[in-house]
Each structure stands twice: as structure tokens, then as C-alpha cells.
């Protein structure tokens, strides 16, 4: 097991969560965001101070004074004198950034006056980068979006899209993320560059994960190629792709897809090497060693809860994976002894029975439980009977609807409506009646005039 996930020996706490190794995968804003998230989630524990310290050091290397001040406020003097507010540095950095910003602005104005397209684009882009470094994400987003008008080659477009996507992901504005991913993917030649392609797929997977669309996220993440390496580490690390991808895949893909996309997929297999515990998990799940798989999951839980993008979805993913495991276990058998199953899943029989009952009522398993002997019997659906029943009820529904239709048509035809309190001549009544005016319903007489009863195919097929 990798060093960063080595907490089997420890219960509850993520005391031995190896922050250094974990965070070394990231750079730039991703690093800071994640550190702050970890600090937030582990409030009161030593991990918090560790994370805040690293965040502080990292922030001093950037120009983001606002965030620096926040972090110092959160540290609250707990880390000693060297971690208090360094006003000198703040002032210097602010002054430096302000002057740089002015310079960029004035350059941009001159470019605009001179109408040099490429330079304008570079100017906007630089301004965006500057805002991004300052932590002013909204302005950065706007600047990047403005470069769109000045992009000439597909390379420009892709660069612009990537910048926007990165900013939008941080802003958690997922609508824009989706938009710009779409834009980038439709640029010609983009598939030729595997790194860019992977970046787009990874961003797409990330935003789908946040949108809780696990199946689509799994599919996208499995298409990321290992060549992306650490080039996208200011958004997402390859290790994350492995973790998110395999969790989503386990939760939402069925066995054949799991095999195709995850296990036989060479690219993803390489990525999985970076997260060996995930590889163990996937393989034991696929090989139906559910006890081992579930144990792995439980072990992973604390560190996953510290992950910025995943922590909200962890309970849901876990529930989905567990349900899928239960369904898969039961599938090949015509009768299952619940006691044996409880051992395999390492739960109590009563608990297991309740979970299975829930799954049966949801329709995920078609079986029945004999609570006296604690055995589950698979039930074969009698297709013939259900088909007959369906046919009869469809006929019943058709008859009912047609009868109602005929009556209503008759009512409209005789103008059989109760007039309002002022008698039938008021304007409102006339307007309402005109809704029922059969002639005004553009051709087709009875059938269409009734607003399409939804008899549709059934009705027409019955019309001999």
C-alpha cells in the first residue's frame, strides 16, 4: 500500500494521513485549495495546523495577499511567531502586483488602439493570468472569456478554453465548465494532442462528479491517458483520476463495462498503478471478493473525506457500491443462505435482511426472502402472464379514455359549458370558449381538436 494511504492500523482518526506525500501531487491553486479544505475538515486536530502551515508557505510564494491574510487569521498565532501576518511582505506584494496590473492594462489599451489581434489576445490572457494569481477569479474568468474574440488558431482556442475551465472549476461554476469543454472538444485537431485531450476529459469527469452523474463521470475519467502526467496538476492529479474514476466506475458501471473500461483499459491500468489500493479494490470487487473490497472501502474512507471534490459524494458512492455488491452477489443463485452472505459481507444478518428487502422493493433484485429460515429465493418473472396483464390493462385504459373523449367531444359540440357569473357574453367567457372552438384548431377535426388525446399509436393501430 502506498504511504499516503497507510492507515489500516488506525481507527477513526486520519492521524497518520500523510499530508506531504498527498499534497506533493499538486501545484498551484489546487494545492492551496486542497490544503485549506483539509484544514477545514480536520478542525481541532494536528492535521489542521500542518495543512495551514503548508498553505501559508505556499501562499507566500504567490501574489495572493487576500488569501494569505485569511490563512494567517485562521492560524491565529498557533504556529508561532514566524506565522503571523507579515505586513511588509503583504504591502510589497500588493504594490508590485498593482504596478504590474497597471502596466498590463496600459499595454492592452495600446494594443487595442493599434488593433493588433494577436497582441490583444496575449494582453487579455496576461491580464487573466495576473488576476488569477491575485486570487481574483471573477476578473480572470472575464479576461479569459474576452480572449475568445481574438483567437485565430485552434491552439489559441484550446489554450483559452483550458484557462477558462481551470478558473471555472475553482469558481465551481459548472455550467461554464461544461460549455467550454464542449467548445474545446469541437475544435479541430484537438484529438491529436493526447495531453490536451486528457486534460479535457479529466475536467469533464471532474465536473460530472460534482454534478453527481457518476456513470458519465466514470466513462470520461477512464478515457484519460497516462501521458497527461503531472501537466494538469494545478487542477487535478493523475492519482485523483485513478481514485475518482475507479470509485465512480464501481458505483455505476455494470460488469461488462467495468471490464472494458477499467480492467482491460491499458491507459487506465497505468493510471491505477499510481493508486494501488484502488487497483486492489477494483480487482477484488470484480472477482467477487466482496468482504475484501468492502474492507478496502472502509479503510479508504477517512482520506477520501478529506478530498475536496469527493467528500460530498462519499456516502452516496459508498451506498451505491454496496448495493451493487449485494445485487451482484445474489444474481447467480436461485437461493442464498443469508447467514453465509452476512459472513461474506461482514454484517449482521438482520441488517443484511433489511438492506436486501430495501433493494427488492426498489426492484434491483427480483427475489423473495424467507424470514423464518433466512433464505433468499430468486423469483422468475412470468413473462407470459405479465404480458397478458399489460395488454388487458392497455385495452382497459384505451376504452376508458375513448369513452371520455367521445363524451367531451359531444360536450364541446353542444357548447355545453356553464357560463360565468356574468352570463356567457363577457369577454373572458368568449375567450375561453374560443379555446374550445373546434374550427379554430387548424384542421383534423375531432382527433386533433381534442388536443391529442395521447391515443397516438394505439388509437391509430386500432383504427381498422
Amino acid at each position: 500500500m502506498a504511504t499516503s494511504m497507510d492507515e489500516d492500523a488506525h481507527v477513526a482518526d486520519h492521524g497518520s494521513f500523510d499530508l506531504e506525500a498527498y499534497i506533493s501531487n499538486y501545484t498551484g491553486h489546487a494545492k492551496i485549495d486542497r490544503l485549506l479544505f483539509i484544514a477545514e475538515r480536520s478542525a481541532g486536530k494536528p492535521l489542521e495546523l500542518e495543512a495551514l502551515r503548508m498553505a501559508h508557505d505556499e501562499l507566500k510564494k504567490t501574489e495572493n495577499t487576500q488569501r494569505y491574510k485569511d490563512v494567517v487569521a485562521r492560524i491565529d498565532g498557533r504556529l508561532g511567531a514566524s506565522y503571523t501576518l507579515d505586513r511588509v511582505w503583504v504591502e510589497n506584494t500588493d504594490r508590485r502586483s498593482a504596478s504590474k496590473g497597471e502596466r498590463l492594462e496600459s499595454e492592452l489599451q495600446s494594443f487595442k488602439a493599434a488593433m493588433m489581434k494577436e497582441s490583444i489576445r496575449m494582453g487579455h490572457s496576461d491580464l487573466g493570468d495576473w488576476s488569477y494569481d491575485r486570487g481574483d477569479l471573477q476578473t480572470a474568468f472575464k479576461c479569459y472569456a474576452r480572449t475568445r474574440d481574438y483567437c485565430t488558431t485552434s491552439r489559441h482556442v484550446v489554450a483559452m478554453c483550458l484557462a477558462v475551465i481551470r478558473t471555472a472549476l475553482e469558481l465551481e461554476n459548472f455550467v461554464h465548465v461544461a460549455n467550454y469543454i464542449g467548445k474545446a472538444e469541437s475544435t479541430p485537431d484537438v484529438t491529436n494532442d493526447p495531453i490536451t485531450y486528457s486534460k479535457l476529459k479529466a475536467s469533464s469527469g471532474l465536473h460530472l462528479l460534482r454534478a453527481k452523474k457518476f456513470k458519465l463521470a466514470a466513462r470520461k475519467l477512464c478515457e484519460v491517458s497516462p501521458e497527461m502526467g503531472s501537466s494538469y496538476s494545478d487542477v487535478i492529479a493523475l492519482h485523483d483520476v485513478a481514485v475518482y474514476g475507479s470509485l465512480c466506475a464501481l458505483a455505476s458501471l455494470d460488469r461488462s463495462e467495468l471490464r472494458n473500461k477499467v480492467i482491460s483499459n491499458i491507459g487506465f491500468r497505468e493510471i491505477l498503478e499510481l493508486a494501488p489500493e484502488m487497483r486492489e479494490l477494483v480487482h477484488s470487487f470484480y472477482n467477487s471478493q466482496y468482504a475484501a473490497a468492502l474492507r478496502c472501502l472502509d479503510a479508504l474512507k477517512p482520506s477520501l473525506l478529506l478530498d475536496m471534490h469527493l467528500s460530498d459524494s462519499v456516502p452516496q458512492l459508498y451506498a451505491l457500491i454496496r448495493h451493487r455488491a449485494l445485487c451482484q452477489y445474489v444474481q447467480p443463485f436461485s437461493s442464498v443462505n443469508l447467514a453465509a452472505m452476512a459472513v461474506a459481507f461482514n454484517t449482521a444478518v438482520g441488517e443484511l435482511e433489511k438492506q436486501l428487502a430495501g433493494l427488492i422493493m426498489d426492484g434491483a433484485i427480483s427475489a423473495r426472502i424467507d424470514s423464518a429460515t433466512k433464505v433468499l429465493y430468486a423469483s422468475k418473472a412470468d413473462l407470459r402472464a405479465t404480458t397478458f396483464a399489460k395488454v388487458l390493462s392497455a385495452g382497459e385504459a384505451y376504452c376508458r379514455d375513448t369513452r371520455a373523449l367521445l363524451l367531451r367531444a359531444n360536450l364541446v359540440q353542444h357548447d355545453f359549458m356553464q357560463s360565468g357569473p356574468l352570463g356567457g357574453r363577457s369577454k373572458k367567457d368568449r375567450l375561453e370558449r374560443s379555446l374550445y372552438d373546434m374550427g379554430g384548431l387548424g384542421g383534423g377535426g375531432l382527433m386533433y381538436g381534442m388536443g391529442g388525446m395521447g391515443l397516438g399509436g394505439l388509437g391509430r393501430s386500432m383504427m381498422v
Partner: protein
């Protein structure tokens, strides 16, 4: 007065009926002046042969200052309705219906609604051109059945479908339709035919309307409750429900919608709370009985779902799963359900386990053949055949109605006018648009050739 009586007797053969009708209509003053003699004159007339005249006399007698209730009037009217001649009656629908209304009020006044059931049923049949036509007497008839609790008397009338309201022939008004649907729905609920009740109540709710209506609101409330009992959830109203009806429903029936929402959550506790919260409203609408049925149906439905997931289950578990208070209550409930045929189960008293009969598993060879047996027998195939024939007939009928509308002159002229206005560059569209609805309003003369044709075809 004597002259009138002799005229009636003389002119009561089929050829002279129209002459008789005009004579009687012009004899208003005679009736009002000789009011005291009308009752006596009635004795001379025979309800079967002189139905037309009898009806006029009866009507004027009723219209006047008759003390309510009047036993002789009721006797006369009962005889009349039972024995009247359809041919003569159908010429004077409005008088006939007015008389029926007053007759009903008299019966209600003496608190003997039962008396009127058979006469009104006969009268109903007399007025109907064919069994698919609605008459105002339907509403009165149903009301009497409801008040006298003779639900089964209404069964044959309930079973017929109404396809036609013929306002000229039967002097039907929209209120009659609504009352028919509402009372009919209540009768079906009384007979526990929930599907038919839903059908009737839905007709009341989806009838085209331009204004809100208290009857429709009451019908909707019952519809919600019956829907919950029958289908377990509130089915959404079809899209052709008129907007003003939806408006009325939103403003008046909110407690019912909340009850439906609580029911769908399948939580007995929440349901009970919702019921208690709105019990005042339910009581005011006289729906408490139905609401109680709804609450018990929730438990029934939960147990039915359990039968699909379990082969055997202990009574304690059943009680826990369905929110009942304990094993004894669960046992009582299951016994009742088995007696009502809603589930098939066996209770093992020693172990407190309930065995649910397995309806889907083909356990043994015999069971396997019996599971398909339902559809292998001649009876099953015959039922299927019958249903298919019904569907085809209805389809043919729909096609006929469709063709008739397409060929109708008024409709065609409107469509061509609209098409023409589309190609004119907007100038003619304005007037054409206004002409459209106005022509629709005064459409009765246009439609009359259609309705006569429809009456004879359908």
C-alpha cells in the same frame, strides 16, 4: 277545464300530438285560472295514453302553490313516471324534467326517497332516446338512491356509459352533467367500485368549463381520496383539464393535495399527522369516512408490498415495517385482508410467522402449469376476445365521429376561412380571428343538422 280534458283525450293519438302540444301551450291562462280543478281533472286522464296532457296538468299543478309535501301529488306523479309513454314525453322534455325536480323535492320533504327510485328510473328510460343519452333525471335519480342508501338500484344505470348530451331533446344543463358525475361517483364509491367512480369523477373535473364550479371542486376532493385508495398515488390531472378548474382546485382543495403528498411518502406517522391537521376541513366536506379508508389502505398497501419481497415474515417485523402498533394489530389486519381476498397468507400461531403464498414462483411441475393456466383456458381467451371487440367497437365509433365532424359544413367553412386568412398578409387575419369565436358562439343552428345525424347514427 273540461274542454281541455276532452281535447286531451281526443287528440292523444300519435298524429295529433303536435296539435295537442300547441293547444296545451296556449292554454296557460286556463291552467292558472282553474288551478283548483287541476287535481280533479287529473283523475280523468290516463298517464299511459294521455302522457302529454297528463304531464302538462301535473306540471301546472306542481308549479302552483302546492303545499309541500302533497301526498296525492306524489301518488299521481309516481304513477305517471312509471307508466308514461316515451313517444309523447320526448316532445316536452323541459316540462317533464321540471316536474321530476319538484317530485323529488316532495319526496325529500316527506323523507321517503325510496319511493321515487323506481318511478324515476322508468321516467329516465322514457326520456332517453337511447341508453347513451344523459337526462336531468339521472341526477335526481342518483340523489334519491344515495339518500335512501339503495346503491344497487342504480347499478344498471351506472353501468351504462353516457356519450351524448342532447340539450334540445332532454333539456339538459351543464349542472345536470356535473351532478350526474358527482352523485354517480359517490354511488360507485358506496358500491366499492373505485375504478368506475374515478372515471365518473374525472369526467366532472375534465368537462370543458369556462368558470369555476362548486360541484367540480367537491368532485375533485372525492377524486383525490378515491385515487389514493385505489391507485396508491394521486394521478396527475390530464392536460385537457381547463385552467379555471385547476384554479378552483388550487384554491379550495389544498388540504387534499397535502394529504396525497403525505400518503405517497408511505409513512403512517406523517399521514396520521396530516389527517389530524386537516380534520376540520374533511369533516366539513363530509369526507371523514373516506379519509379513514385512505389511512387504512396505506397499511394494506404496505403489507401487500411486503408480500412481494418476503416469503415469510414474523408478525413483529410486519408491524415494524408498516408502522402498526404491534404484532396483535398486524395479525388482526392480515386476517381481515385475507378475508377480503387482498392477499393470500397463512399465519403460524406457534412461531408468529406469516407465510405469504407465492404467486409467481413455478415451484413444482403442477404449479408451473397452473401459473400459465389463467390464460390457457377457454374462459381466459374469451375474456381477451371480448375486450378486443370492445376496443374495436370504440375505435370504429371514434372514427365515425371524426368523419362526421370533418364533413360538417360549419366546420369546413371555418377551416377554409382560417386557411385563407393565413395567406392574406395579416390584414384579413384580424377580422377573421374575431369572426371565428363569435361564429362558434352562435353555432347552434349550424350544428343542428349534425346533432340529428349523430343521434340517429350513434
Amino acid at each position: 277545464m273540461e274542454a281541455l280534458v276532452t281535447q286531451v283525450v281526443a287528440l292523444s293519438s300519435p298524429n295529433d300530438l303536435s296539435q295537442l302540444l300547441s293547444t296545451l301551450k296556449n292554454a296557460e291562462t286556463v291552467f292558472t285560472q282553474n288551478y283548483q280543478h287541476i287535481a280533479a281533472a287529473l283523475q280523468a286522464l290516463d298517464p299511459a295514453q294521455h302522457s302529454l296532457g297528463f304531464a302538462f296538468f301535473l306540471h301546472h299543478l306542481a308549479k302552483g302553490n302546492l303545499p309541500m309535501p302533497d301526498a296525492s301529488f306524489i301518488d299521481n306523479a309516481s304513477r305517471f313516471f312509471t307508466l308514461c309513454n316515451p313517444g309523447q314525453i320526448q316532445m316536452i322534455p323541459d316540462i317533464f324534467c321540471a316536474t321530476a325536480h319538484i317530485y323529488k323535492e316532495h319526496l325529500l320533504a316527506i323523507s321517503n326517497p325510496r319511493r321515487g327510485i323506481l318511478p324515476l328510473r322508468a321516467g329516465l328510460r322514457a326520456l332517453q332516446l337511447n341508453p347513451e343519452v344523459l337526462t336531468p333525471l339521472h341526477a335526481d335519480f342518483f340523489q334519491l338512491c344515495l339518500l335512501s342508501k339503495c346503491y344497487n338500484a342504480a347499478a344498471p344505470v351506472l353501468a351504462e356509459d353516457i356519450f351524448d348530451v342532447a340539450p334540445q331533446q332532454t333539456s339538459c344543463t351543464p349542472t345536470d352533467l356535473f351532478l350526474y358525475c358527482y352523485f354517480g361517483g359517490m354511488l360507485c364509491i358506496g358500491r366499492k367500485q373505485h375504478a368506475r367512480a374515478l372515471e365518473l369523477l374525472l369526467q366532472a373535473i375534465t368537462a370543458p368549463a369556462v368558470a369555476g364550479n362548486a360541484i367540480v371542486a367537491a368532485a375533485y376532493k372525492k377524486y383525490v381520496l378515491v385515487c389514493l385508495i385505489h391507485a396508491g398515488q394521486l394521478l396527475p390531472l390530464p392536460k385537457y383539464t381547463s385552467p379555471c378548474v385547476r384554479h378552483v382546485i388550487d384554491s379550495e382543495a389544498r388540504p387534499y393535495n397535502e394529504l396525497a403528498a403525505a400518503y405517497v411518502l408511505r409513512n403512517a406517522e406523517k399521514l396520521r399527522r396530516a389527517v389530524d391537521q386537516h380534520s376540520g376541513v374533511f369533516a366539513a366536506d363530509n369526507n371523514l369516512g373516506l379519509v379513514r379508508q385512505v389511512v387504512s389502505s396505506l397499511a394494506v398497501r404496505s403489507i401487500q408490498r411486503l408480500t412481494q419481497s418476503f416469503l415469510t415474515l414474523s408478525l413483529a417485523d410486519i408491524a415494524a415495517n408498516t408502522g402498526l402498533s404491534g404484532a396483535e394489530e398486524a395479525e388482526a389486519k392480515i386476517l381481515r385482508m385475507v378475508a377480503a381476498g387482498q392477499i393470500r397468507a397463512k399465519i403460524d400461531g406457534r412461531s408468529g410467522m406469516v407465510h405469504f403464498a407465492d404467486e409467481t414462483r413455478a415451484g413444482t411441475g403442477a404449479a408451473a402449469s397452473s401459473s400459465g393456466g389463467l390464460w390457457d383456458s377457454a374462459a381466459g381467451v374469451a375474456a381477451l376476445d371480448d375486450r378486443m371487440r370492445q376496443v374495436l367497437e370504440l375505435g370504429k365509433r371514434l372514427q365515425q365521429a371524426h368523419e362526421m365532424v370533418s364533413q360538417d359544413r360549419a366546420y369546413l367553412s371555418k377551416v377554409t376561412a382560417r386557411e385563407r386568412s393565413k395567406y392574406d398578409l395579416g390584414a384579413a387575419a384580424g377580422p377573421a380571428g374575431v369572426v371565428g369565436p363569435a361564429a362558434g358562439m352562435g353555432g347552434d343552428p349550424d350544428f343542428s343538422p349534425f346533432t340529428v345525424g349523430a343521434g340517429s347514427n350513434l
